[in-house]
Amino acid sequence: MEEKKDQSFEEAMVKLEEIVGKLEEGDVPLEESIRLFQEGMKLSKLCHDKLQDVEKQMDELLKENGETEPFTIQEED
């Protein structure tokens, strides 16, 4: 299974859960289980990365022309 760059966090988590489930069931041939394990480790790293390494997103404000600008909260006066 090739690693997909555009795999979403959910997809990766679902896949990871599947792999963990399969391995925990335990009736997987050895080579297959090693392959699954490696893929699982890759996926969990991917998930961690998605949660950690991404820069904090800036909030934006959608203008009427469809463009956006950075948004900061202004208190009502």
């Binding site: 335990g26 289980s33 009502e76």
Partner: protein
């Protein structure tokens, strides 16, 4: 002793109170008036005066009743009230105990709300099966609300705190006033055309029913219903229910709650990933351990330790099989032999020798009979023959020739000459005598007279 004519204040007040409480009309009274001197007591009860041009009445609305209010009573507000009138004994004051209160003038709004709710419910806009699933980890969140105020701040800070990796776009709309509904509706439609968002939060902070009214408009309800992007509604406070809340995929009690529903807590997710990683490692370790045990067991198994036993067993198997083969074979052979024997005896029974002997005997009898018959015939013929021979002898010319007769023939032929006319002088003739022949020539002939 004359009875004391004076009674206590308490007795009087209690008497008056009983008068009030026994009057059915005063127990369930409907009033229209204006609020003043509104006090929200810290323990939750509300105290105010209800008045019109000429009169006023002190009123109380206890927390148990006022927590169902859909608006915050304010100074000068026109209201419709349902309640009862009784006496507050410590002050000797009659007052109004308010059980239900609605803003006056917007009674029509409540009616419109109920009608629209019924209509849309019938159309299936609130149907649970039409609710879309909220994505677990939305990357892009659209917030359709006023860009100022507590609501947008609550949503943004909550999302930042829980899930900072989500990108939030504020889509500014009017949330109250005559143009609010169309503004909100347009924003929802626009977000769906753009399709850039995983989830939308639509709402505003608390306010009076008029202030929240845009979220009760049909146009907003239909935009929410047609939205492909899942929508969380967050309008006002916990007690405020709008049509938008019924149509939305999830209704949040407050904007903060909406943000909490929209995004997971990042640390929880990290924890879940870590948990799975741990499970993964544990699973592979145990898997390998189990396989190793299995291998060990195999190596320790009977077959590996005593391989010869296996061969011996196979040999025994082979012997048994061969025995069976032989048994089968001899059984087959016996059966065939028996069949052959039967055939031979049948053949012998039908042997031709007897018939041959019979025929031979018959043949001998026939031969004997034939011989006998032949002899009889021979004997008979033989005597006949002798007889005939005798007769023949008597008639034979030879015997006549014995007596001196001769026979003349044309020379070289067997033609017997019986007449003189048969010959000419000069012809050569053969004359046979009893003991030979004479070759002669005719010299002359003489016919005898008759």
């Amino acid at each position: 002793m004359q009875q004391d004519p004076y009674i206590s204040i308490t007795e009087l007040t209690r008497y008056i109170k009983r008068k009030f409480d026994m009057d059915g009309k005063l127990q369930d009274i409907w009033l229209r008036g204006e609020l003043s001197n509104v006090k929200h007591h810290s323990r939750g009860h509300m105290y105010f005066t209800v008045k019109d041009q000429n009169s006023r009445i002190n009123s109380v609305m206890f927390a148990g009743n006022n927590r169902f209010l859909k608006f915050r009573p304010e100074e000068g507000m026109k209201v419709l009230i349902r309640g009862e009138v009784s006496v507050y004994e410590p002050h000797g004051q009659y007052q109004l105990y308010v059980k239900e209160m609605q803003p006056d003038g917007i009674g029509n709004l409540f009616l419109a709300f109920e009608e629209l709710k019924k209509k849309l419910e019938k159309e299936g806009l609130f149907a649970p099966e039409r609710k879309k699933k909220i994505p677990a980890t939305p990357k892009r969140i659209g917030v359709i609300t006023s860009p100022t105020g507590a609501a947008v701040r609550d949503v943004l800070t909550t999302i930042k705190r829980r899930f900072p990796i989500a990108k939030v776009t504020v889509m500014p709309v009017l949330v109250q006033g005559p143009n609010a509904a169309s503004s909100i509706s347009r924003a929802i439609d626009f977000a769906n055309e753009q399709g850039n968002w995983d989830i939308l939060i639509v709402g505003r902070g608390g306010g009076s029913i008029e202030e929240l009214w845009a979220f009760n408009e049909e146009i907003v309800a239909r935009s929410i219903f047609h939205s492909i992007i899942p929508i969380i509604s967050a309008v006002g406070h916990e007690t405020d229910f709008t049509i938008a809340d019924f149509v939305a995929d999830i209704r949040a009690a407050t904007p903060t709650a909406a943000a909490e529903i929209a995004v997971p807590h990042i640390e929880e997710l990290q924890e879940r990933v870590t948990q799975r990683q741990l499970r993964l490692t544990r699973a592979i370790t145990e898997h390998v351990k189990r396989l190793r045990n299995l291998l060990d067991n195999h190596q320790k198994s009977y077959a590996f330790r005593y391989p010869l036993q296996l061969v011996k067993q196979k040999e025994q198997d082979l012997d048994r099989t061969m025995e069976r083969l032989q048994k089968t074979r001899s059984r087959t052979f016996d059966r065939k032999a028996e069949q052959i024997d039967q055939l031979i005896s049948r053949l012998e029974r039908n042997h031709p020798e007897r018939r041959f002997n019979l025929s031979k005997d018959k043949h001998q009898v026939l031969v004997r009979m034939l011989k006998k018959e032949m002899r009889n015939i021979l004997d008979h013929n033989s005597s006949d023959f002798q007889n005939k021979i005798g007769k023949l002898n008597a008639l034979s010319p030879l015997s006549i020739m014995e007596r001196g007769y001769s026979l003349a023939y044309d020379q070289g032929t067997e033609n017997l000459i019986k007449s003189v006319k048969q010959v000419q002088p000069g012809d050569q003739v053969t004359v046979r005598l009893k003991d030979g022949k004479l070759d002669c020539q005719v010299w002359g002939l003489e016919e005898s007279e008759k």
